[in-house]
Symmetry: C2
Subunit: 583 residues, 2 copies
Amino acid sequence: MYRSHTCGALRESHIGQEVTLAGWVQKTRDKGFVVWVDLRDRYGITQLVFDQDRTSAELLEQARELGREFVVQAKGEVIERASQNPNLPTGAIELLVRELKVLNPAATPPFTIEEETDGGEELRMKYRYLDIRRNPVKEKLLFRAKVALEVRNYLSQQGFVEVETPYLIKSTPEGARDFVVPSRMNAGQFYALPQSPQTFKQLLMVGGMDKYFQIVKCFRDEDLRADRQPEFTQIDCEMAFVEQEDVLQAFEGLTRHLIKTIHGTDPGEFPRMTYDEAVKRFGSDKPDIRFGMEFGELNDIAQHKEFNVFNNAELVVGIAVPGAASYTRKEIDALVDWVKRPQVGAGGMVYVKCNEDGTFKSSVDKFYDADDLANWAERTGAKAGDLICILSGPTNPTRNQLNMLRMELAGRLGLRKSDEFAPLWVVDFPLLEFDEESGRYHAMHHPFTAPKPGQLELLDSDPGAVRANAYDLVLNGNEIGGGSIRIHDKDMQATMFRHLGFTKEEAREQFGFLMDAFQYGAPPHGGIAFGLDRLVAILGGQESIRDYIAFPKNNSGRDVMIDAPARLDQDQLKELNLKVNLG
Amino acid sequence: MYRSHTCGALRESHIGQEVTLAGWVQKTRDKGFVVWVDLRDRYGITQLVFDQDRTSAELLEQARELGREFVVQAKGEVIERASQNPNLPTGAIELLVRELKVLNPAATPPFTIEEETDGGEELRMKYRYLDIRRNPVKEKLLFRAKVALEVRNYLSQQGFVEVETPYLIKSTPEGARDFVVPSRMNAGQFYALPQSPQTFKQLLMVGGMDKYFQIVKCFRDEDLRADRQPEFTQIDCEMAFVEQEDVLQAFEGLTRHLIKTIHGTDPGEFPRMTYDEAVKRFGSDKPDIRFGMEFGELNDIAQHKEFNVFNNAELVVGIAVPGAASYTRKEIDALVDWVKRPQVGAGGMVYVKCNEDGTFKSSVDKFYDADDLANWAERTGAKAGDLICILSGPTNPTRNQLNMLRMELAGRLGLRKSDEFAPLWVVDFPLLEFDEESGRYHAMHHPFTAPKPGQLELLDSDPGAVRANAYDLVLNGNEIGGGSIRIHDKDMQATMFRHLGFTKEEAREQFGFLMDAFQYGAPPHGGIAFGLDRLVAILGGQESIRDYIAFPKNNSGRDVMIDAPARLDQDQLKELNLKVNLG
């Protein structure tokens, strides 16, 4: 037995007991006549004490020689602490050590193992096993485990069954790039790693499994942006004999349960908004509704004067920024510059200060009078003291730009509170979206999403207008889940493939098994998938997912700790019938 | 709403209620004036009734036209069933249908969807989604989910934390072949899929995570034998600050909990046996102890006569087969032939019938008298009515052959009861085993296993004699789990790599990160991993794992349902800088 208690266990009630602890040396304080050592493990910190009155000189010397992160075992008596530390659960006691054993010494760590570390991102990634010792990272991993367990227990109690689907599947050209796995036994052939278990969960519905879920790793070989990982975890769910309303109810239940369990607050019934409304009111299909600053479209009240920037624009749209009328000229100039950054890409920003005294001051005073500006204020909901920011241009990019501005300013104003949870269902997504690059329509969700009843005929005449029973669950401006009611009719699925540009042969080769399955009695079905990494981060009140992943990869998809990926030796390549061709 | 109740929900108490059901047509019985339809879903079967007195002619005709596996929705009134079926939970009622809707018709399935099917293995694999509708397969998947959830909840309650480790890692030459994944972003380099999260879980221990578990997919590119899958699921566990005893106690607790929860019986304290003892007494490191038939070594009492087969053998060893003295000549000849099969590979089998009257009849009566045979009977524990089967030859193969004979005969005698659970810890495994093919020692468990304290020096003089703190958990003759106490000292790890034939550079390149980690304060640690597929099968009382896997692969590693693996197109290969070279 290496220990009788953990470093987080001892309290006043243990005073007088002989105990054994084991853990890491967090720090040592040497006052000459007395040495204190903070001993740390997963469960907490306990203070060890060595002093010249009660400790042998040899032992005291041994304590002095302990370095940071040494692994030690200490036996002794729990005693009352002279100066108690109310911030530490074990702060009422300390351990008077009688026997000390170094289980493993430690080299000086490359960064400090404390709440705040001096280690940069790359160094922390390389020595991730040391970073995990730090409380903030450790707590995030424990939190993730807790959320995952809650999800499993809640869904199981609701009759969902966790079924493991295969990782070695088949590559499909649709969607993002697959990671592939060469097969040695089937020479020249490749498996693919799943981007999601989509087709398998649908086959489980055809198989009568009815209510399925799985917490499962998925893989996407995309060029990585910050906070994207090549492997990520999904809570994947599917139900049979359901309409959209059943799916929304079921997973609103899950999400409410998580928020209640974790934060003790009931977010109530989740509001719903159509995709069209979300885009119009917030310029985004994942609006953050923790705060207002809704879009006000100004075309009818701004396009009647000499200001050609507005007159020539497809859309003129503004938001009221609460309390920002007091911004200085410099601050406003900075804002004007901010929207011009390539990431935002907007042209000029027009602003109107709604002064406390009811007057207005705008960057377009030359073109508009006070009545005009008052109308704009009314449309954007601006009150005295607010600043109206207006962008104009082609509809979609302008909405997108104003959305970025809205989110940025809300962040600066502290309106994106990490302890507030505002879930929202966005529904009635378009079935297809036009891709400029390939010049054709792609499935917005995926090719298995069903159009809304009666809209199938629109596919030929106005594909972009077709709406689907597809929905996203948005939490605090992040899409945490998305799903749809699926096609369960083989003819409709064939029609869909045709509209997505598949030839009959391609559809057959890629998805023949699914269309076959639909022949043998497929039930109506639908589902949803949550991104666990992001869900956990948002529930934890954080923006970045990285510290919720035990061993993340960097932006080049590398694990810098184990130094992967790496070259293979020739024998291994030969066995796989492969040649690397860097030409 | 597609249904108000499931097909397993309705009871006598629902009589008189209007309900809606949805499901699959299991079968239709048409008696002319009345048509019964068995409607099936995941939850059960409910009988629908249509009759000419209470049902419109049109509806009756519609019911007649339903084919097997049609997906239908039926509305009507729950009524008392005239001839109740006590074998069906819903057997007291039936649904008098007023409205019937075909949600999806079905082609005739390629095999019958019933308890026993007429479908062969390959056909069932190809249409796995139909096979899953069959009760025995569905129940196995539900059972698996239940076991996995129990494991998660039990371990979490014991303070273990589930941490997800990465799937895209680095290939290592040790052990079985890796599946690899070419990286597009890191041209010419490859990830590997984990054979187990071994090094990551050790790094989590270095990271202070203390008690870790994970239910995780692992991958091995081996030539497949029956009942081996290229991807399989492991319950992977690790603990810090532990000795072997702590690990055994923790996972004995888990296994006992599973047996108790699932079967309601307490297997008591698990017996323990050293590897050497297991091999000597049962000829196997995973003995089935549900029954006796222990080995009796006969060298000292059989090698003193003229029978040179025995005199020249390294080992003469027998087992008593209960009640088999009555075997006919023909039956014994068949047994003699059975041990000669290439799979067993034994030479001649000597037998002794222990007759009920106390006399003996053996195949070596020419060489041995009754006193000799009585000694053999005593040594093997044979009683009147038993048959002693004796094999001889070099020690290891002979033990192995007699083990196969013991298992075969116990199976024939019904001694391997599927509802009896006999767990056993096998401990003190050899650290290394000699591999004839490569002419060197390999790690028996893996290169991270610690030798027993004080045995490190034996590594040079007698490597085969070194024992490790390595253990297997055996259940009914199957290894369901295995683990060890790990090395946590970087010098000892370096020594181990050297003994396993790694150069310093190779060790550095492959496992440098682990040896680095050991520098920064690695705690003593150890763990275990269970094969979930097999554990679930054995707990379910079955031999084969295949039906406990939703979408298994065949013996060539193919998924015959989706037809994977498959060729990639040239563009995809080019993007990955790969050429297929089948030459």
